[in-house]
Symmetry: C2
Subunit: 493 residues, 2 copies
């Protein structure tokens, strides 16, 4: 059964309702397949109208949606209003990309006379939608990574019907959002099966959805454990399907000596804010802070610990997430060489305590338990003796959404070979490398890359944020000697 | 042990030699990882020089290489000379792409002032090499899909070290080709581990290679059985890696009524040539021919059978491939409703017999055994009552490298909704859709797409032929607020 829970009080709100059955899910997948062909053939203009229609409805329903989201997540009105804005902006960005064309037609090469390999027929490279996409919503962004979030927007933009598996942490909001999307679908004259919602608190709903023969691809944001299990199921199907999973990230932030020379206090304050933003429930929350041994690194760490001690993170999304956070932090505190610098108190029943634990690079590298993500307002400070140790820590992390490097100057002449090697190491393990600012906050733009080597993503070449998110749901097809009229119909929306 | 076999006589040539051991392979992978960073940081100019150097060496050694390839494959000098030309052309195309830039730098967006979502930092989208790539060579294209073929060329172009797992059907040629590549690597002043060769006749070598922790991606061309087993291993690694596998294709060719109205005899002749080209050992060989019931379809099929009866395919690549072909054809001949139209004789000991078997669409759809590829000079004619049955056959095939549609006019006004639905069905199941000509022969160009839904490819969004083949080995990274000097060094080769 599904039940709306008040995140702040832990109390049930309203009556419980039934989960989707296997039969519901199989039927939804079949219906999605039935409409997939026509939706693939829809004009890009119609799909842009659909995305804008969804955005408009979210804006009109803002007050009720944000209130509902706040009750179910406890994330607070300012943050949730901002997230709703971002979600609407995201829908509009995909609509603009559709307006601008080039979604389906990539390249049209004229025939070249003569024998191969120089001679060749006319070749037209287009992209076609994959078919029905299963979207697994996340708990921590109830708008931007949920029912009408980036995965749904990019799949609809690509011309793929969507079945969202709602996150059980905000089940009532999921229904309310689905109603808005369904109304926009109907207003465009599109069949209802272009967008469907299924719900369930256990693993069965997700398993059934990933295994449904009609599903062509899966987009997932969530935990490593659940994500890997579903990714394995997708790969084991008789006909494997792509699984675009974002499974977690520790987001190392590297403080180079130059960053300690001036402005260190402001940096420490900004970092403390980033670690505790949304109670640390961001996939881009900085989880490992690399700081050189000795002064002035000691001073920076003291400042950071002091700032964090004054932070009062709000309550976490669910009791389960809170429990995982506490046990993760406990594990950190008890490893060899761990020094607890902030957060000993353990927090109150309702809210977690911002926590900072320090270890040496040698202890970090020797203890794989430290290399896992702890989701919540906590970070591990790793003290390093040399740039090479920073590289080694990045190597041990292996895959992350972001690496932040503080203290690399704008002057190219000052970039030593050693620093360049560190930057290359950062690009080896991350989808996004920052040279200023904090990793929380992800711009929705064409250049964005929200992905990275496993486990940050199960498909590191793809992104779940930004315009390239649409690429996940389009497959290239080369048309050879195609008549003009057909190219126009297939590729020009 | 590895042994060079004369494909025409089946006799051993020269002494046998040892396979690579697990230890050899692990060492090769480690050495590849050790040089990966520096090779990733090499200039695109150096990599272009490397590719051109390989091409030059293949041309200089042409006579010896082609003679050796002919002895080990029996494919004949004209075909092998042409294939060597195509291989050199392919290397040059990647070198040109590197010359033209835009391999590493995709997009540089200036910062926008203001609050998110409109405001954003400077974002620069680049692409970085994945790391060491394992390339599994194919038997049927000893140059173009082997040691110095498209997978190797595109991985080296991307800046990834390569370990080729040679195909045991042309082991001596593989060594000779590897020597040429190694000499070109040395001439560029690059470390030897930028390109390595491992050899083995059994499955152990491939398994060890796919499981080696240092391997970052796999490119494979070969059988469904071996490819799926290796793809499953790649997906099951603690840190899964991308597996770009081309596992087989039936390449349906659809003869629409309009194509029977005129020129049917010439079309039948061209099709017979395509079916038997290289003894049918092309991944794009047309394996299922859909023809409308009744006259004039009957006449077309008679003509095709007559043409095929006169064809004398040369010997097949290996005794094992020949055996699979014979048992595949036997299976076709004994299904319900099968009519053998050409090829009853079964061929000689040395050469296979071009074979044509006919079934109704209903029999085809009811018997999944018919829906598998038979690799060799044979095709299945499926007689259909209506366009809908043609769509159903495509649906049953599910994934194929190509679909060919004969009889769609250049005049857009004549493209009915029914024909358009058939074309969309073709784009649903294929990587390349042809409207003229035959599917054998794949142009090496930017618009090409040699891939398609599973089992044609394990990564249907990627291609193993054409310039986009390089995309498989590059991963996008967003740089946020990066200093100009660093962008230049990371992204501009």
């Amino acid at each position: 059964m599904l039940q709306s829970i008040n995140a702040r009080t832990g109390l049930a709100h309203g009556a419980a309702w039934a989960e989707s059955t296997s039969r519901d899910i199989d039927l939804a997948a079949l219906q999605a397949r039935q409409v997939a062909r026509d939706f693939a053939a829809s004009t890009t203009g119609l799909r842009a109208t659909l995305l804008r229609g969804i955005g408009q409805r979210l804006l009109f329903a803002r007050e009720a949606l944000v209130a509902l989201a706040d009750r179910e997540t406890g994330l607070g009105l300012p943050r949730l209003n901002g997230e709703l804005d971002r979600t609407v902006y995201q829908l509009e960005q995909f609509a603009l990309a559709l307006d601008q064309g080039a979604v389906h037609l990539l390249l049209d090469e004229p025939a070249v006379a003569g024998a191969a390999p120089l001679g060749r027929p006319r070749m037209t490279r287009i992209r076609v939608p994959l078919g029905p996409v299963a979207v697994f919503a996340a708990s921590n962004f109830p708008f931007a990574f949920s029912v009408a979030g980036g995965d749904t927007a990019s799949a609809l933009a690509a011309g793929c019907p969507v079945i969202v598996k709602a996150h059980p942490a905000h089940p009532a909001l999921s229904l309310a959002l689905a109603e808005q999307v369904q109304a926009a679908v109907a207003q465009c004259g599109l069949p209802a099966a272009v967008f469907q919602l299924v719900q369930g608190a256990g693993i069965a709903v997700g398993v059934t959805l990933v295994q449904a023969p009609a599903i062509a691809a899966v987009a997932f944001t969530g935990s490593l454990k659940a994500g890997r299990a579903l990714a394995d199921l997708a790969a084991a199907r008789p006909r494997p399907i792509p699984f675009f999973g974002e499974l977690g990230s520790v987001n190392p932030l590297i403080v180079l000596p130059a960053a300690l020379a001036s402005g260190a206090a402001q940096r420490a304050a900004a970092l403390a804010q980033s670690i505790t933003l949304g109670a640390g429930q961001f996939c881009t929350s900085p989880g490992v802070i690399l700081v050189p041994q000795g002064e002035p690194g000691d001073g920076f760490v003291r400042e950071l610990a002091g700032q964090l001690s004054q932070m009062q993170p709000h309550g976490m999304l669910t009791a389960g997430i809170r429990q995982s956070f506490e046990s993760g932090v406990q594990a950190w505190c008890h490893v060899r060489g761990a020094q607890v610098l902030a957060g000993q108190a353990g927090g109150s029943a309702a809210t977690p305590c911002a926590t900072l634990v320090q270890v040496s690079a040698a202890d970090y590298l020797a203890q794989p338990a430290l290399q896992h993500e702890v989701f919540g307002p906590a970070a591990l400070v790793v003290r390093t003796a040399a740039l090479q140790e920073m590289e080694d820590v990045l190597g041990a992390i292996g895959g992350t959404l972001t690496v932040t490097l503080w203290g690399i100057d704008g002057d190219a002449a000052q970039v030593t070979d050693e620093i360049q090697a560190l930057v290359r190491r950062a690009t080896d393990v991350a989808g996004r490398v920052l040279f200023a600012g904090v990793p929380t906050g992800v711009a929705v733009t064409a250049a964005q890359q929200h992905g990275g080597p496993y486990p940050a993503s199960t498909a590191p070449g793809t992104t779940s944020v930004g315009l390239a998110a649409m690429d996940r749901f389009l497959r290239p097809v080369a048309l050879q000697d195609a008549p003009d009229g057909l190219i126009q119909r297939l590729a020009c929306g």
